[in-house]
């Protein structure tokens, strides 16, 4: 079965592409949950766009006319395949015939975009929230980036500026005679909403008044000069203290301001943060350096003094932003933690961007930030704002929930299952910020009774309806309708297993694991993953009971255990050597990317470059390393070029500059070109590393690979092949042997 085709046209992939016909069968056979990874803004060159509103079923399902609706002569009515309701076509649909149909009924147009004919289009709003507790050079690098962005923002788009340090300053950009700002105390005992109310009458708090939010072309000059003059927080910091930052208050002011001025209009609060909140609500760590910021250890033991309170605070800010449809982005740029762990929920609930970089002067920040604004259509992100996604399921199917950066709209329709997975109990979700990579995991359930026969030739249908405001301010409705076949209970098991997509399954399991990290111990999650894996394998592998040697796993399942091996070892489920901020960031990214990007995160890719032939993918293991080759490792977060010892020696000797060794120069250039192609595509911009074998940075590779060669095991005869890893970690071979043992026992 070709799982990639559905992804290409519809942006959707399922764990199982053929479905058992009853709940009992599903529980027995679907040992990976039935789910879909759906990318609402998936960019397909064949996407059809139509300039009129969609036709909705007047039944309770509220589904949209699609190729699976049955229509028959004389083409006056259509039957909704979800609720079987008969609907009249409106007058302007008259004239339909077998050969003459509107686009949404074409059998190949299972995904279609409707652009609603509205007159007033609103461009998205950008509200910058800038940390001024930064060192001078960092503040300068940041304001330079912001100034650059002004020339790229669409000229009619509204912008606003808030800075924070020991106090919050809200700039009145509409007042151009001189920089004018309103100052809020960082530890003010009031709610920001009440303060915002005092800033102007209800009439002046709208976009028309152009007071705090002003179109970019009208304030570019003024805002540029303000940015140039922004000074470091005047509040002095002694060497045993952290700078004062009232980050919580700044977010509260930003969200309340947008809520008052532009509710339900696409907007993003872009925050630039270089250190932890040390004051006011949302405080993450005290001012004294003597008191270290919380670690994973502290959090586990409940000893993190501020964490849970701060988490609740930022979550409530996130909820406030969701209620008015605004996205919150965090650009966290510092070599120490800034409190992403506490602030994560704001970004997750609203579908904003999270970027974790070393500094504002670092390419990881600068390139990521530019990518949001770039006008290069190949490299730019296609953005959506103030979106809502609705799922409609056909009879016998129900939606259990979704995992991704969204929040529940609490729409408990008849498609909603009692059995909750992720953000459940609803069939529609709010997403304040979307881009072409935003991908959501939906989990489904088969609700048919065991003895209830399905009508012959019937299939399961799911419709995803995403309405959003695009970057040009137009209202768009994207509709994807997918169909999958039922498999009869008595059919050979191959009918079901042929539809098993192991890549999507691994990602759906990883999403579930990430979701569990919010409430469960990591050890328990790993144990749960193991248990689920053993169950799946013992059901679908061929073996004689108690005989390990007879064990055989068919191609459809064969790489799934390897994904699980790497997932267990990954930064998503191991916190050693990671700060809570880093863990939050890594998990955040796995929670938003599509299947192929998520797989790169779970099991990084390794490409080998040698003199013998073109580059080829290599197994992610210690035996793939050799001293006469170059490796390109892509972990999604890091892109690393690793030169074997001999290659490094030749390069240091300058052979690449010798015209007689053109092939050596070509060998050095090839991985760099491939890395550059990855960097151009990737968001956020990854850490790029060039290193040699046995160097300190080579540890990025050694910590990632399967340690099949260690100081005690498998030491190679020929030292030029393979690399010894100093570890006692279990390798893939041992893991698989254990898996087989458990599988044939059960």
């Amino acid at each position: 079965m070709d799982f990639y085709k559905g992804e290409e046209t519809d942006g959707v992939r399922f764990s199982w592409n053929r479905w058992p016909t009853s709940r009992v069968e599903a529980t027995r056979k679907l040992l990976v949950p039935l789910g879909a990874m759906y990318t609402p803004l998936h960019q397909s060159p064949e996407l059809t766009k139509v300039p009129y509103p969609p036709l909705r079923c007047k039944g309770l399902c509220n589904a949209i006319l699609n190729p699976y609706c049955s229509i028959a002569a004389p083409f006056k009515t259509w039957v909704c395949p979800f609720c079987l309701q008969h609907n009249q076509f409106p007058n302007h649909y008259s004239g339909i015939s077998d050969v003459h149909k509107p686009a949404e009924l074409y059998p190949n147009l299972t995904t279609i975009e409707y652009e609603l004919p509205t007159n007033d289009t609103a461009l998205p709003i950008y509200l910058f929230v800038v940390d001024i507790g930064l060192p001078d050079d960092e503040l300068r690098a940041l304001t330079d980036s912001l100034t650059m962005s002004l020339s790229l923002i669409p000229e009619n788009a509204y912008v606003g500026l808030i800075t924070f340090g020991s106090m919050v300053q809200l700039y009145e950009l509409g007042f151009t005679a001189c920089p004018k700002s309103y100052v809020f105390r960082g530890n003010a005992p009031f709610k920001a909403t009440t303060l915002i109310d005092k800033l102007g009458s209800a009439e002046s708090m709208n976009l028309m008044s152009k007071k705090f939010l002003v179109p970019a072309n009208e304030c570019e000059f003024h805002l540029t000069s303000i940015l140039e003059e922004i000074q470091k927080d005047p509040c002095r910091v002694s060497s045993d203290k952290r700078p004062l930052r009232c980050t919580g208050m700044a977010f509260s002011v930003a969200v309340s301001l947008l809520q008052a001025i532009a509710p339900n209009t696409g907007a993003r609060i872009m925050s630039f943060i270089g250190g932890p909140a040390t004051q006011g609500p949302g405080i993450v760590v005290g001012e004294e350096l003597k008191e270290p910021i919380r670690s994973h250890n502290d959090i586990q033991k409940g000893k993190a003094k501020y964490s849970s309170k701060a988490y609740q605070y930022y979550k409530s800010i996130g909820e406030q932003a969701v209620s008015s449809g605004h996205a919150i982005d965090i650009f966290s740029c510092s070599l120490d933690q800034v409190g992403l762990y506490e602030m994560r929920e704001m970004v997750k609930l609203t579908g904003g961007f999270m970027v974790l970089a070393d500094a504002f002067s670092h390419p990881m920040f600068q390139q990521s930030f530019q990518k949001i604004f770039t006008r290069d259509t190949d490299a730019s992100l296609k953005l959506g704002y103030n979106a809502e996604i609705q799922v409609v399921t056909s009879m016998y199917l129900k939606v259990c929930g979704a995992i991704g950066h969204m929040s529940s709209k609490g729409a408990k329709t008849s498609c909603v299952s009692e059995n909750e997975i992720g953000i459940g109990g609803t069939s529609s979700w709010k997403i304040c910020g979307l881009d072409q990579n935003s991908t959501f995991a939906f989990y489904f359930e088969i609700a048919n009774q065991h003895n209830n026969q399905m009508p012959p030739d019937s299939s399961g249908l799911i419709q995803f309806i995403t309405s959003y405001q695009n970057a040009a301010g137009k209202q768009i409705v994207r509709v994807t309708t997918v169909k999958r076949d039922w498999v009869d209970n008595n059919a050979p098991i191959q009918h079901l297993t042929q539809g098993f997509d192991q890549e999507t399954s691994a990602v759906l399991m990883a999403r579930l694991a990430i979701f569990k990290t919010e409430n469960e111990e990591l050890q328990d999650i790993t144990r749960w993953l193991d248990k689920m894996l053993i169950k799946l394998v013992s059901r679908y592998a061929d073996y004689k009971k108690e005989d390990i040697r007879s064990f055989n796993l068919s191609e459809n399942f064969s790489i799934y255990p390897t994904f699980m091996f790497h997932l267990r070892r990954s930064n998503f489920l191991q916190v050693f050597n990671n700060s809570p901020d880093e863990s939050s960031f890594y998990r955040f990214m796995l929670n938003r990317e599509n299947v192929s990007n998520s797989l790169v995160m779970i099991q990084p890719t390794l490409e080998k470059y040698t003199f013998n032939g073109p580059p080829r993918p290599e197994v992610l293991s210690a035996s793939s390393i050799s001293n006469d080759s170059i490796l390109l490792l892509d972990t999604f977060f890091h892109v690393l070029i690793f030169s074997g010892e001999t290659i490094a020696q030749w390069r240091k000797a300058g052979y690449d500059k010798d015209p007689n060794y053109q092939n050596f120069r070509d060998l050095l250039i090839a991985p760099k070109q491939d890395a550059a192609a990855i960097l151009k595509e990737r968001f956020p911009y990854p850490r790029y590393i060039e290193c040699d074998q046995h160097s300190g940075e080579a540890r990025f590779l050694l910590a990632t690979i399967d340690p099949n060669i260690t100081h005690t095991n498998n030491i190679p005869q020929d030292p030029s092949k393979g690399e010894i890893v100093f570890t006692e970690d279990v390798n893939l071979h041992v893991f698989l042997e254990h898996l087989k043992k458990f599988a044939v026992q059960s």
Partner: protein, 191 residues
Amino acid sequence: MFFFDWISWLLNWFGLANLKANIAILGLGNAGKTTLLHRFSTERLSAHPPTLRPNSHSFSIGNVNFNAHDLGGQQNMRYLWRNYIPDNKTIIIFMVDSTDFNSIGESKSEIHDLLQDQNLENSHFLILGSKIDVKSHYSKEQLIQALDLQPYFYQNPQPKNINMVMISSVTKEGFAEMGKILRDTAESLNK
């Protein structure tokens, strides 16, 4: 809560409860800081990527609970080190890769910066020469020479609270001596 706090205070008073001590693990990149901390806190040997953000883990030796901050050793991260040595009760472990003869000069200048820092005048230092399971490595005496630490080690009385142990996180050689020094230091700090 108050009641428990009071009990633990009472136990501390009699010296019955566990002692606590803080450690900052410093050193250049690839010295073996994270590997050591992982060995301490999980007993297991594992391969780690370079540390990108400061993080901390705890472990105990005897009746002492240590909380250790693992700090990145890359050049640009070293300015953070002092943030994690808030007072002279923090034990400073400085790790030196005893097999890396090229970077020894860099280690030397970092160590001397710390030793001459006014704020750290009374701090306890433990220099660890790591990776002695590798064949070619500095001996303890060679390392003292190379780091120019003779004035600190060969004078009586020692001008500073400073020790040096050669260790291997792979074979655990030197761990017993290192553990004893850490425990003794913690006890003397808690007095």
